[in-house]
Subunit: 215 residues, 2 copies
């Protein structure tokens, strides 16, 4: 199913909907209205109806949504049923945290392997995930179907590693470095998760709220 | 200066503008047009002019923007001149990565201390930042002016730690846990940086692009 031009903002809200619905499902709730969902998430009911209408008709006026059906639709839309394969490049502190604590499996991502330059790490395993030498990266990607490469390397290596994975056929990069890759790798999907941008947004809000208090 | 209702999307683009302008400034570029900036960032010139117009008039038709002036304005808007103080709670792998690699000082944030429950960590230092026992957290916050608390603790502790820091006077939480705090702490600013939401957005895009290829 092709969905045309849905705004990024709508799509970025979908994982939040999914989490809330998972919570309801775990509590045994079978149906939820857009009003209830809105209240729990700080959104208006009409916004929720509008968001869901981008993807088809999930609810019935006056009856609310079936939690299970909506969850299953959202999972499908977010590609969770595809079990995308993932490799991680950079097994430093952040890489360790991602392997140990992120829980790729929770949303059916399959973390196949990790890569690093540190001889002390190469050949070892973290939580069952083997660490290979970065020299083996091109060959690994060519021989194994890899959907997503996670970049947890220092910023200085970001572009060269992005080039290697792109050239060898990876379709998407989840970029944790402080280097924006968005513009450089056409045809490859890049999601920059910028810690700095997130903290600076908070800093803006804090700065504004302090200014208001002083008025 | 109060700026009224500026859309989140605009504000979230400001750190990106700042980074690009820092790059230009480092290269010695003195003026930049909205067309040049747009090309480098994948935005239209009119979008850039519209974004900047929310905060006042920085440019002159036909002359472009002064890189240094725009940078200084953006830094001010983002609160970087305020040197907000920060504490980090949870000095595990992610906490280590944040202390060692994130570079709070780069945007004038002052990382004062870290807190953990692990006796092996308490009393030690990471890159000059001292790790205290979490038991000392309430007292530390009451005695020291803390603007921002970074939560890098397991999800299960997220809400209780958020309550402690909120109750003792922290104004903002930068939340790395997988628990959404947005709705629970009124009066406190919360920025959730959700790894899962970011990966699921990428998963959606990948899923859609695969569907298109198969059509």
């Amino acid at each position: 199913m092709k969905r045309g031009n849905i705004s990024q903002n709508v799509i970025r809200r979908l994982p939040r909907y999914m989490r809330h619905l998972e919570g309801l499902d775990a509590e045994g709730v079978e149906r939820v209205s857009s009003a209830e969902l809105g209240k729990a998430m700080g959104l208006t009911p009409s916004q929720i109806r509008q968001d869901f209408s981008c993807f088809g008709e999930f609810g019935q006026q006056g009856y609310g949504y079936s939690v299970k059906i909506l969850l299953s639709e959202l999972r499908g839309i977010l590609g969770i049923n595809k079990s995308f394969s993932v490799i991680l490049i950079g097994a430093g502190n952040l890489g360790h945290a991602l392997i140990r604590n992120f829980g790729f499996g929770r949303y059916s991502f399959r973390l196949l392997a990790a890569f690093d330059v540190d001889p002390a790490l190469i050949g070892s395993e973290i939580a069952g995930v083997k660490i290979f030498s970065i020299d083996y990266l091109p060959e690994f990607i060519r021989e194994t179907h890899v959907d997503i490469a996670v970049l947890a390397v220092p910023g200085l290596s970001a572009k060269s590693i992005a080039n290697i994975v792109t050239k060898n056929g990876v379709k998407a990069i989840w970029n944790f470095t402080n280097i924006e890759l968005g513009m450089d790798n056409e045809g490859v999907l890049v999601e920059d998760i910028s810690f700095a941008d997130s903290l600076l947004f908070l800093s803006y809000c804090l700065s504004e709220s302090t200014a208001e208090e002083q008025e």
